[in-house]
């Protein structure tokens, strides 16, 4: 399965807690990422749920709006997030070994 940057962003957003759509956008925005368009995000969600990476879950009891749909990582989603993270880490190590991405490298 293909993990696009947006897929990875969503996997990260859901890694620590279940969120609704708007929550995910705020989470991505909050850590300084570029939030996707709403349409693009729902398409990604659609695809990820079809691939079994995320699932719909009931809203938590302390939710501000019970009508909202919440999403959670499946175990497969968890696995995919970890695998992708390892892959990116390896790439980062390589990049660093080649002195890429450092402020003073330019």
């Amino acid at each position: 399965m293909e993990i696009t940057p947006l897929t990875y962003e969503i996997l990260l957003a859901l890694a620590d807690e279940n969120r609704h759509g708007y929550g995910m956008i705020k989470e991505i925005e909050g850590r300084g990422g570029t939030p996707p368009s709403t349409g693009a995000m729902y398409l990604a969600l659609h695809r990820m749920s079809a691939e079994g990476l995320v699932k719909e879950v009931p809203a938590p009891s302390d939710s501000d709006d019970a009508r909202r749909k919440y999403y959670a990582l499946t175990s497969r989603g968890q696995e995919a997030a970890e695998r992708e993270t390892r892959r990116i880490s390896r790439l980062l190590e390589t990049a660093r070994a080649k002195k890429l991405g450092k402020e003073d490298a330019a």
Binding site: G21, Y22, I25, P36, S37, T38, G39, A40, M41, Y42, L43, L45, H46, R47, A50, R68, K69
Partner: protein
């Protein structure tokens, strides 16, 4: 506003996505929209939201396809076909967008495929389908030949066949049957019913390897008089006349003059020698017939043999020749010039239809070829219209294979729909064909669409899909993206190479069309020639009616003659009836029998061979306006007891009495007259009539007098003051008045007899005509398409020329020259091909040569005119180009 936009975009997109995520998506969008933003940021946000949703929905379709592939669990092979469903959907959508193109392509294909499957069905029925007999490959037809009389596949004299049967070891057995189906009246519940009777030898069914469904067949002993009171019924006669009575075997029926016992019923579908046979009955020859000279002289029975195991037809023929030579020496009087031969049954059955079938197969093959060329051309034009689109898809990374496959799928879709429609057309065509007896052979096989035909049709469809899908596909796969983008961008037309391909196709199309139109043209000329042939009689307002005066109630000769005379008298007394006469068989209906003759006083070595005979009376000549050249007609005074008289035709007189006066000469129908010879005096000479077909010259013929050489079955010819068929009621009324138990066996206006004698040509003409017109239409589409495309490609150039002061005529010429180059090349090639190809139909031509310069000239002229007209439309459009706008179109 952004929200409304998003909502409409959602509504345009796939329902599944909208239903599942639509509301939620909008809710989230609303929340985000409420966030404080600067005015420019709000604009960026709105744009991103709208664009994002459009991209998302478009990608959704692609995704669905990918999931479908994954969930079908396809392996490597599956992946090769993966996405086919999407290609098909995409193909349907693009075809749906260009309905004109799709309709044209489908119609063209349906036409080609339909015609092909109909004609192939006929060919299949005749040439490929197994005959419904056991070991049909071992069945051979035997025939006698006589080079002196021009007999090639003649019926045989029974005595000769009996000798072959016993003396040729290569033949396991030989049976004899009458291929002229006789008719007999069967009286059931007081109603007369006509039955077709075929006379056969007792071993007939055994030789064919056919077993009855009920009861038994016949045995060899039953061939002969005394034991011949048995019959076998056909399945249809059993159903029709006896209600399928299971107790039929053993019942006695009165057929014709005698009562016979039913011993068996044949299974459904057994119809040999023809569908008209209701009853197979033994010949009933007298035991001593073999020793009598007539049994070796009268050639009236059709022999069919079964080869001995392991013997082929060639060897059997060689063995037959040995016996034939022996018989020549043994019976010089009858057999001196008689030869014999044999050929496999199938070859014999199709010997007369083979040539027209091959012509049709050839013509229809050409038509399918044309259809494919045309669709290929349509596809090419379309491909060039889409060249930019394809190039764009290649540029953004679509695989070349993928793009090519998409085009093949489009072609395949067209072929499938066209093939299905074609099959429907073919079914209609088959129904039309099977009612055409003129190409049909009697009995053994029937035309029907079957699995093989359906297979053939779809093979044709698929191969044309490949044929016309592959050219644009190859071009797409090979295409130079940058080049296409540039070319397409400038003129929206095909590349130079594409135009050349299309032009070559059109030239080929014109050539093939020329062949078909020329074939049809030659048939038209033939048909006109045939129609202008004087048949030798008046065909208008004459009705021919066949009936028999049955034995039993009219036993004596005088009873029969009195009945016939009374019939004529009563009918002539009716209003509107001018003259009534009798003849054994009307003209253009075949010959009766033939013989040799000798005139009184001729030296023994002088003999007239192959003269034909017919029974007639003076009423016949008068009703048909057959002129009396010399002498006199028969008169009622030439009664049964009066001296025998005969009327001959002009050909007889000029052939056998050159420079002599035949009137008053006495002739006997013997090779050498003897004391027992029966002498006829020639009293009159009448003008020639065409006896069998209009193409055959009249044959020497003698008319015997109905009152002297009398017969129970005759045709009454009825001349009316007006419409021939109006006499039908009077004929029925008179016959019913005289004897309600006598059925009318046939009733045909002479006009129709004349017409149906041309049926074979009419049939070929009709089909070739339809093919030619179709071809012409296809050619117009092709020429127009290519010229229009070429003109469009040069719009820019033409605009410059017009701007520089070119006159309309010059622009017209420019475009016309290009289109007419293709047409001209096609015509030259077509005429060249035709010199060889029209030989195939030379045997169907009458009064015109296959290379007739006038017809070729007319056809070339016609095609040139049609080609010019097809080029003229785009040429005029080009000439009307506004230079400013054409230059701007860059």
């Amino acid at each position: 506003m952004t929200r409304a936009l998003l909502r409409s975009i959602l509504r345009l997109g796939p329902a599944v996505f909208r239903e599942r995520y639509g509301a939620e998506l909008l809710a989230v969008h609303d929340e985000r929209a409420r966030e404080p933003r600067s005015v420019p940021a709000r604009a960026v946000f709105a744009c991103r939201e709208v664009a994002g949703l459009i991209v998302a929905q478009t990608r959704y379709l692609a995704l669905r396809r990918r999931w479908a592939r994954r969930h079908s669990g396809a392996g490597a092979v599956g992946r090769a076909f993966a996405g086919l469903g999407g290609d098909v959907r995409f193909g349907l959508r693009t075809l749906g967008r260009s309905k004109g193109f799709a309709a044209a392509a489908i119609a063209v294909l349906a036409l080609g495929i339909g015609a092909n499957s109909a004609i192939f069905s006929a060919v299949n029925a005749f040439l490929f389908r197994p005959l419904p007999f056991d070991d049909a490959d071992r069945l051979v037809m035997l025939y006698e030949t006589n080079p002196e009389f021009g007999w090639e596949h003649a019926q045989a004299a029974p005595a000769n066949v009996l000798d072959w049967r016993e003396q040729v070891d290569a033949l396991e057995d030989v049976a004899l049957y009458s291929d002229f189906v006789d008719e007999a009246t069967l009286i059931l519940d007081g109603e007369p019913e006509l039955l077709g009777i075929a006379s056969v030898t007792g071993n007939f069914f055994d030789v064919l390897g056919a077993r009855p469904a009920l009861g038994r067949g016949l045995s060899w002993d039953e061939t002969w008089e005394g034991r011949d009171g048995v019959v076998v019924l056909s399945h249809s006669a059993w159903q029709r006349h006896f209600g399928g009575d299971p107790e039929i075997v053993g019942r006695s029926i009165s057929a014709g003059t005698e009562t016979r016992q039913v011993v068996g019923v044949m299974p459904e579908g057994f119809a040999f020698p023809s569908d008209d046979v209701d009853i197979w009955a033994p010949w009933g020859w007298e035991q001593g017939a073999r020793e009598q000279v007539w049994f070796r002289r009268a050639h009236f029975a059709r022999p069919i043999g079964r080869l001995a195991a392991g013997v082929d037809a060639t060897r059997a023929d060689a063995a037959l020749q040995v016996v034939v030579e022996r018989l020549k020496i043994e019976y010089p009087e009858t057999n001196r010039v008689m030869g014999a031969g044999l050929m496999p049954l199938r070859d014999f059955l199709i010997k007369d239809v083979r040539a027209p079938l091959y012509v049709l197969v050839g013509a229809v093959g050409l038509l399918l070829l044309l259809a494919c060329i045309n669709v290929a051309n349509l596809m090419l034009v379309r491909a060039s219209d889409r060249a930019r689109d394809v190039a764009l898809r290649l540029a953004v990374g679509a695989g070349r294979g993928r793009v090519a496959r998409q085009m093949l799928v489009e072609g395949g879709l067209l072929a499938l729909v066209g093939g299905a429609l074609g099959l429907a057309l073919g079914w209609i065509g088959v129904r039309a064909l099977s009612t055409q007896r003129s190409v049909g052979i009697e009995g053994a096989t029937e035309i029907a669409l079957d699995a093989r035909v359906i297979l053939f049709t779809f093979a044709a469809a698929v191969s044309s899909a490949l044929l016309f899908g592959i050219v644009p596909a190859l071009r797409a796969a090979r295409g130079d993206v940058q080049e296409s983008l540039k070319e397409g961008g400038r003129a929206g037309g095909a590349g130079r190479r594409g135009l050349r391909t299309a032009g070559t196709l059109v030239a080929g199309q014109v050539a093939v069309t020329l062949l078909l139109v020329l074939g049809a043209g030659l048939m038209v000329r033939t048909f006109l020639e045939l129609r202008s042939v004087d048949p030798g009689f008046t065909k208008e307002s004459v009705l021919a009616v066949q009936f028999s005066v049955p034995a039993g109630r009219y036993d004596h000769r005088d009873d029969v003659l009195a009945f016939q005379d009374e019939f004529a008298r009563l009918l002539e007394a009716r209003p509107g009836i001018e003259r009534v006469g009798f003849v054994a068989r009307p003209p253009l209906g075949g010959q009766n029998w033939s013989s040799q003759f000798q005139a009184e006083g001729w030296p023994p070595e002088r003999v007239g061979v192959e003269i034909w005979h017919r029974r007639a009376d003076e009423g016949y000549f008068e009703a048909l306006d057959i002129p009396l050249i010399r002498g006199r007609h028969f008169t009622p005074d030439d009664g049964p007891e009066a001296p025998l008289v005969v009327v001959i035709n002009e050909t007889f007189a000029s052939q056998h009495f050159p420079g002599e006066d035949p009137i008053g000469q006495r002739i006997a129908y013997d090779r050498s007259a003897t004391a027992e010879s029966i002498w006829y005096e020639i009293v009159g000479i009448v003008a020639d009539q065409h006896q069998r077909t209009l193409t055959e010259p009249p044959h020497a013929e003698a008319f015997e007098n109905r009152r002297q050489d009398w017969g129970r079955t005759n045709w009454a010819v009825v001349k009316t003051g007006g419409d021939a068929s109006s006499a039908g009621g009077a004929v029925r009324a008179v016959l019913a008045e005289m004897d309600p138990l006598i059925p009318i066996e046939a009733m045909r206006p002479m006009q129709e007899v004349w017409r149906s004698s041309m049926a074979r040509w009419e049939f070929l003409l009709t089909l070739l005509g339809v093919f030619a017109v179709s071809a012409l239409l296809l050619a117009i589409v092709g020429v127009y398409g290519v010229t229009a495309q070429a003109a469009r490609k040069r719009t820019h150039e033409i605009g410059i020329r017009v701007a520089l002061g070119a006159r309309t005529v010059e622009v017209l010429g420019l475009v016309l020259r290009q289109g007419l180059t293709f047409v001209g090349a096609g015509l030259v090639v077509g005429v060249g091909l035709s010199l060889v190809a029209t030989r195939a139909i030379s045997s169907f031509l009458y009064g015109v040569e296959p290379t007739d310069p006038l017809t070729i000239g007319l056809v070339v002229g016609l095609l040139a005119a049609v080609g010019l007209a097809a080029c003229l439309v785009p040429a005029r459009r080009a000439a009307a180009v506004d230079p400013a706008s054409s230059l701007r179109s860059e």
